[in-house]
Amino acid sequence: MAVRVPPAAHPGSGAEHAAATFAALGDRTRLSLVSRLGRGGPWSISQLTHGSHLTRQAITKHLRVLERARIVRCVRSGRHRLFALDPQPVLEIRDYLDRVSDQWDQALSRLRAFVEDGTGITAPAAAHRARTARAATHPLTRKTPNSPAAI
């Protein structure tokens, strides 16, 4: 199964990162591997294979997919390869969904203002407000949760 390796971070690449992480996690075996890795570790392939109905080769294949998506990293311990969870991509998914979620909060607040104020937000007024508020609260650039107020 081909899972795209996400490119280096650049503004606006949230979707690609999220898609790659979602893709890697969207499999029952890999989710259970991630769950297991989340309980301490690092783990060897033998440890991860133990108690699983899958072969060592199958586990290795799934670990590779997770490794390519940077959810799991391989650390060497002498002759052994051990695998540990890297929470960063999962944090990125969460951050990505938070941003999309914030965008909806803002869009719906604008819709409500538009409908309830009768004339609503005209395009120039929206542009003006956007200009004044943009640096701190623009939904496309902001990374931290913003105030719930509509902009």
Binding site: G12, A15, A107, S109, R110, L111
Partner: protein, 160 residues
Amino acid sequence: MPAANRTPERTADRIEKSIEIKAPISRVWRALTHHDEFGAWFRVALDAPFKVGEVAAGKITWPGYEHIVWRATIQSIDPEQYFAFTWHPYAVDPHTDYSKETPTLVEFHLEKTATGTLLKVTESGFSDIPDQRRGEAFLRNSEGWQQQMKNIEEYVAQHP
């Protein structure tokens, strides 16, 4: 503006919002589905009416983002009840080709309330990408994904 009446919720594969608007359904419906009105609050310059099965496209009217074309494929227009489109969320990088990714589905449900209209918005399908059919099937089967996501988040909370 108070954030009251908004119930933000999200799970791994879905964002759900609802908002109470003090206006009749017909008014909210027009603001949602008339391209000019939609464009005013959504901040995109649209010059053609929405039609089921067709792509609506226009430039974003956010200052600094006017070079980006917003696109959505209208999926359903069920008057004063349901409006849906698919799109690529957060498609803000003009150098990225988002067209090969499976879009997410945005759905608007309208309900009459004592004081106006309850509008529910759902965006779903964030993990529904083409090379992941099996994963998709798994996501549909109840608790699996969400439980694991919770496990991961707990892990993350414990490992800052």
